[in-house]
Amino acid sequence: MSDVVEKTLTALPGLFESQTGAAKITNRLRQLIKSITELTSKHEEENLIKRELSAIKEQVSSPNTTMKQMREIMVRAMYCEMLGYDASFTYIHAIKLAQQGGVLEKRVGYLAVSLFLNEGHELLLLLVNTVLKDLQSTNLIEVCMALTVVAQVFPKDMIPAVLPLVEDKLSHPKEIIRRKAVLALYKFYLIAPNQVQHIHAKFCKALSDKDPGVMASSLHIYLQLIRESPDSYKDLTGSFVTILKQVLGGKLPVDFNYHSVPAPWLQIQLLRILSLLGKEDQSTSELMYEVLDESLRRAEMNHNITYAILYECVKAVYTIHPKAELLEKAARCIGNFVLSPKINLKYLGLKALTYVVQHDAKLALQHQMTIIECLDHSDFTIKRETLELLFRITNAQNVTVIVEKMLDFLRSCNDEHTIIHLIGKVAELAEKFAPDNSWFIQTMNDVFSIGGDLLQQDVPNNFLRLLAEGSESKEEDDQLRLYAVESYLTVLKGHTSHLPQCFLQVMSWVLGEYAHLQESVDRREVIRLLTQLLDQRSVSSETRVWILSALTKIPEGQTDLILDLAESLSSSQDTVLRQQAQELRHLSQDSQLREWVLPRGAPWDGIEVDSSLSFLDGFVSEALAAGAAPYKPPHQRQEELCEDRALNLEPYSFSLPVSLSSCSITDRQSPTLLSVSSGLSGNSAELSQKAGSSTLILEGVKRVWGKDGYLPQKEATAPPVDEPSAAVQPASQQEAAERIEPRPEPSTQNQDKQQLASSLFVGLGVGSSVSLLGKSEAPPPRFRKKPRPHESSSSSGTSKRSSDSSSHSSRNTTDSFLYGSFPEEEPATSISTFDHTPKSTTANGLSQNKDTKEDRHANTSQILGGDMVIVRPSTIQDKHPPSVSSDLTALLPADLKDLPHSDVISLTSDPSLSLSSCRLFRDEALLLVIFISNCTETVIKDVAVQLTCEELKTASLRGNVMDCLEARSTSVCHYALLMDDPHTNVSLTGTVSYQTQPGHTNTLPFSGTLSTADFIRPLVVTTEEYGKLWLSLSHDVKQNLKLLTDAGDPLRTTLNALKDALQLHVVDIIGSEGIVACRLLSGAPCLLHCRVNGAALAMWLRSPHPALPDFILYHCQRALAHH
């Protein structure tokens, strides 16, 4: 059909004269088009369009311009906009033209509107009345164009205005009106689904419309509806099947044919709908087998459009519940495609194959030779699609060859977009299937040097995390790390100026962390290599920060080098570097401090990330005291912004030193929002400074780890590099050798292809496919990531990205595919996705034995420091008599050992038995453990413990009945006690019955008291949450308490005393006010607001529970009195 556009520019002069009739062209438009065709440069174009636009401007403002001229002006404006020049002053005239013009002008007016204005443009509101008028016009053409524009651009808010009219049109006698009405409703459904919910029945009527065009339009709606909820439309399967049968059977009017194929695009649409309906649904699938079979059979004609239908059909066959016979036919079709000499068909065949191998990897085996040919195809698109296919069939056996192929392709590729997508896949495959450490590190080196700074952030993140977190075996981890260190030292000894920043960052981090693993390497050498990098101009300041962090971590002993470096950097222009140089100097001189800040080999898992940023509280309170406006969450700011837009009708209030208006003060004023007077007082700055000094100084320290892990920054692109790859595998080695040799004979070439094939398709055999249908022996990923609580957001980000483009199917999709067949091997990452339980809720230091561990985490390398807070556990002070036998705690069951507990106190004893108890604080209950010790030399039989306490609920108990208690042994029983309603003190009584001699039962009574304090748990909330919660609580109590004035900071001392006694959580201290939160086990919260009021502490408690504040107040009073 290349003769279609055969007239050329040489015919131009004649054409200008010969335009006649309806196509008559006015002078100005003709002139413009002529000038456009004669343009030779961008500069000329600019001048021309500028002139044109000013001419248009003049014309549109002239009152003498007729509607006919206006139509021509609109076309000229379209030209200007098409060439990229703004003609927005004509928009209003387009609307006017649609309003006032005759039929033809109106159409052009509408057309201009649809081209110029996008959805949401405010001028569209001016169109609504015109549309309304035209929808009611008796002229069908006007109705038609109004419906067209409604389906293209229409303000969402105005849908209700036109909806009834459009709905009416569904029963219009003319098919074109009905068709356009359906399409308009489809548009409404897309932009405002709720508005058209009530007319779903009418969609159904449209589907059964006698006109095929109307029916076809309704399919757009159904495709969308079914995509959203396939289950609701299963009953329509029969209808769709019937329609497809009719289309296939040639029942449509002949003008629906395209090249003698009946309504091909309609067939495609129907096939898509059917595959959605039949997916994972056997009974629905069975309804469509016949028509799919027929569809496959019909498409025998040799024309592109039949192949397009076939492709859709094949996809449907592989999507729905499988039927062997159909699968076989579909597979044959794919074969024909892939083998076709027509390149477009080959492409489609590869695409189909890529889709199909997810369901049946064996199919790739059948076409392995073709795939290999395609891999070396001269067509970039074909190659790219083949790599996509190979990516899908990668397993542990063929990974080296496939990755090598991908890297080869990437080295010769210069399209950024392709590189980003493909390099991410290489990294993914490497991580998942790496056969050994050296290959993995080498491949990642290639990934970093090829992908460079184009890489998606998560590639270096994942890599570093993998190195850092390691697997179960420390030895293996260290080997991997060691290999990385060796490899990087080699890289750094070579030319480094071309290396991407991201690679340099990865290398410096690894060297900083793990260089010590390599005994044979001189540390001076490492320092020298890293320092060398600092001198390079191409190294960005971001990377310098990484390098300096690494240098900080390299162990002591090289003070002279480090001091030189710090000295030379201390005059750097970059304040961040200067700051780091300072730190470097300090740390290198004080090895104790360094040991504390950067402990070697601190474990990575379980790092507490304080997402509430409470370590900044000191800074915040200081800022507040200095007059800064309190923080407002984004939504609140948004709201206020909206409010600001409206006219302010309230009289201006008195101006205050601190903007009160910015705090949203409600009638129930929140203590967190307002501390104006206290904030302005003199000593608050001093206080907050003190608060700040207990934490690490974090200003100036580059934050490279955030809530979601490592936060790399994009840097200037460095040219990608070819790394000499040491990871050449036998097969590809041979291949590489091949290329250097003069062209070998065809037969040997073929042989090589065979060889390549065997290495590419290994593991896809009958018994060992990654097929969903068959079983699989694909090994679990080599590098298994440990679940991380904070990974959730990053991995959800990935999935979002993947949904944007399925070509770049990211980890999540493939994971789910690969893991789909092994239910017992849930990917660790996906588990953590749902792990939203923030650690901090249980973290407020209940566990004493965690103490050391946490401190160690807190001191982990500086690079991690940014987000951490040292969580100090509160010490539980026992107010009961001193412990009798603390060694009894060793007898606690293993699962309870880690819980914080009180001292062991003696309950009672008699000559035979002695009873002690210990309280264990679990989040949701109090565990009362009773140790029953046999003090005699004989066995005691039938020991039974009976505990009663009316105020408490026993959630569970264990071990309270024993058949016998050996001589001199101790048995443990424990009760989980719940307190639903608070009481100041509860007393419990119990008895132990036992038999020293058969038939002779002794009973030993015991009693004890528990205090409410035992049931109070810290409630970890942020200041913001506290504020919200405060406003929602109803029961409050106020009281003045004693202030502990014996220390420099009375408020802080008092609150700490309370915290220690009662396990409260101090949320925030701002100036002379402090907010504290706790809860009754995992039940009702209680918020405490404390303010220094002279020599007293004004305490204000709120809780949803009416009595809880009183009890907590009581205990606070007692705690302070005892202090």
Binding site: V5, A22, G84, G213, T381
Partner: protein
Amino acid sequence: MIKFLLMVNKQGQTRLSKYYEQVELGKRAALEADVVRGCLARRKEECSFVEYKDYKLVYRQYAALFIVVGITENENELSIYELVHNFVEVLDKYFSRVSELDIMFNLDKVHIILDEMILNGHIVETNKNRILAPLLALDKMAES
């Protein structure tokens, strides 16, 4: 889904552009230049589909004029390839042997035809008679 349709000549001059997804005016010129470059770089024996950013481009050449359609990954390339041809056949029917100049001089009408075929990025009509019906009616009214 169809994201845009362009008619561009070999010199890279845009003769018609229609976007079904909002693209800022300022960015269109750069996109169009990229797209044309991508298509011009391809040889005759290579397939008619190119990857471009998140899109696939389907292009077809008629004399000096390229028609390029940007589509999403889930679209059927070959069916779009044939849709382009159907579009050209419709233009051919209306203009009787359509040329680049016909398209230039009748930009509005080509758009009206396109609006009948593709709406919001979906193929809504492929029946040639039905595509042309509204335009022919308009012409008739204008004549009388």
